[in-house]
Structure formats: C-alpha cells, structure tokens
Symmetry: C2
Subunit: 220 residues, 2 copies
Amino acid sequence: MIVGSGHIPSETTDRLFSYLRPLMCLLNRGSDTVSSRELARLCKVNPSVIRRDFSYVGNLGTRGVGYGVVELMENIRRALKFDDDMKIALVGVGNIGRALLEHVRFGMEGFKIVAAFDNNPEKIGRTVGRLVVEDAIALEERIQSEAIQLVIVAVPEICAPDVARRVGDAGVNSVLSFSPCGLAMPDNVRVTCVDLSLEMARLVYHSSSRDGARGKDGAA
Amino acid sequence: MIVGSGHIPSETTDRLFSYLRPLMCLLNRGSDTVSSRELARLCKVNPSVIRRDFSYVGNLGTRGVGYGVVELMENIRRALKFDDDMKIALVGVGNIGRALLEHVRFGMEGFKIVAAFDNNPEKIGRTVGRLVVEDAIALEERIQSEAIQLVIVAVPEICAPDVARRVGDAGVNSVLSFSPCGLAMPDNVRVTCVDLSLEMARLVYHSSSRDGARGKDGAA
C-alpha cells in the first residue's frame, strides 16, 4: 500500500466523508488532537479501521498524542479532492434546487455552484442563495464560458433526459440528477441519480435502528 | 450465519438499499429474473458480495435461473423493515421540508409522513404534497394522537434544539435533523443529522470520479 496514493477503496472514501463531521465538532469544542479510539467512538467504527483508513490520507498520527484535528481534516479533504474547486451548474430551481442553493455552503466542500438555470420566466432574474437565476436557454453557452465540470439536474422527470442531452452536447460528461432516471437518459453523459425516497428510507432506517449496537452518540 | 436473521451488518444494509433501484429498473424493463453477475454489473460490486448479501435476506436464487426480481425486492424490503409502516412527522415546511413532502413517495419506502408542522401563519393551513400544514403549537398533542415514531426536523438551526427537546418530551426518541447539530441538542432524543453540504460533496465525488474503475452505467 502506497501511503497517500491516488487509489483509495470506495469503502474508505465513504468513511473518510463521515469522519469530517465529528472532526468539525471536535474542532468547535476546542480539541486540537484526537485519538483513534475517541474518533472510533464518535464515528461508531473500529479503531483499527480508522487507523487503516488514515494510512491512505498520509496521516499516521503520533503515538500517545493522537492525530492533529486540523491536519487530519486537511489531509482527508485533499484525499477526497476537496481542494480542487469543482465548478457546478444547477438546472431547475424548484424545491430541491432552492434547498441546494440556499443550504449548501459554497466553496466549503470542494465544489461551487456557480450558475443556476430555470425556464420559468417568474424565476429567471430572481436571486436564490447567492446566485441570480438565469434563463435555461443560455445553458450551453454558460457551461462553456464558466468551464462547468458537472451539472446538477433538478427538473421535472419528463424534462430530465433533454437537459442531460444538452449538457452532454455542451461537453460536460457528468450529471447528478435528482429526477428519477429511466432508460431515456442519453448515452453521451454519465448520470448519477439521487432517489430521494430511497435516501430518506436509508436515513429513516439508520435513525430508527440504533437502539442496539449503535449507542447514543447521534449528536456528536 | 443464520439465513434471514435479524442481525445484518451495516455494510450489507447499505448495499441492500442500493440494490433496490437497479432491481426496480429491471422490473420496469420486464425482466423477471436476474443473475448475480448481471446485478453485480449494474451495481458495480463483486458477484460474490451480492451472493453473500442476499444470503442475509433469505433468498438464495436458483442455479442457472438467477433470482426472481419481485421476490428479491420483497425480501430486501422485509429485511430493511420496509413493511413496518413507520409514521413520521415533519417540523418545518421550508425548502427542504417542501422537497420531502412533494417528492418522497408516500408509503412506498416503508414510512409515511403523516403530519407536517410550521409556526409561520402564512404556511399553516396550506396544502403541501398531500398534507395540510398544521400549527407547530399542536406538535406534542399530534405526536400522541398519530402515534408518531420519528420526527424529521427541517427548521432554522437556532430553533432545532428546542424542537428536538419538545419531540423528546412528547415521547419520540428518534429525530432526523436537516439542521446542523451542535452540542445544544437535548439528551432525551437520539438525533441523526444530515449535513446537506457533506452529502452533496459525497455525491459530487462519486459522480466525478467514475472515469476509472466505475464504468459507464450510471443511468442503470
């Protein structure tokens, strides 16, 4: 295993994301260092798993002292490519689009939503979050002028394949879709679909099944 | 290992959720059966992992035929306790609350949002999704009359600890919070926090890092 190398198993990257929130809490509490045992308790994973995961981010800690919280967060963010600021466009300023524009902290997590589009004249020109909603007719032009790397599609299901095709034709090959994906999605883009019902089911399962093994540290 | 037993490792439950979407797609395409090899390709996991996961849901398939898609989905839903219809209340009908009320398919995923609350007089009495928004003052009373088992909190950060405390006092011990959780959360409830920025970062990471090992089957 090459320490800090580019290849990190997907199970490890999934856990690396989940370490960031408890680390942020520790930092807010004024903790400069954390042991793998303490972090394991907060994250509900085995300390040996944490030590193995951290070997991928090139931070092995100091025996008897633990890991530096700030250094650890920086290394995790670097391993997860948070320090490449990815430029994202959003198409569709409905409930989900508004929630993303208003609640996602811009630039904190390694990506920025730099443009938002809708085709509803009542929405075009209005400010949502920090952006002015633009006419969807300008999508292709703006993808190129802003050097957009990924497009979030949050439009009605029936419009999603057409938007995805336009995104692909404009040269962006990654789409994150909050619209259900069927077979109508075009071949010229890779589409990751978020099924809100399933994601909620997953969260509900986890928040209601923690009486047993998972303990009482949900707020940490 | 006891086939179909109650204890399923969390890695397995995570994967079981992720099998449901491709299975639904297969069903929509008219496929009655699926081999572990085909499902592995769609889900981007190893066929041996799939076979091991399915041994927990008590569906071992038929050699040379594969798994029955409908039976498999039913068994997975049962293993994930989707057939217990959990009653959920939502507090806070802002962007996230509206998105949940309007886009999550009621009853499809083993839980039902049966009541929604807000303290804004302009929202109380309005219909969102299939529910009429109720005055948050009635929260405790309605938790008891509806036998609510879990409460989703999607209110401004400053209000979240108070809402969580009221939920706990009313006898519900599980809260799923879309508000950032600090140390102010009360002890009488278990709080699962959803950090929208981190979840988006995770999705962005996955949708932009699939050029290598992950192939081109995002829409499947």
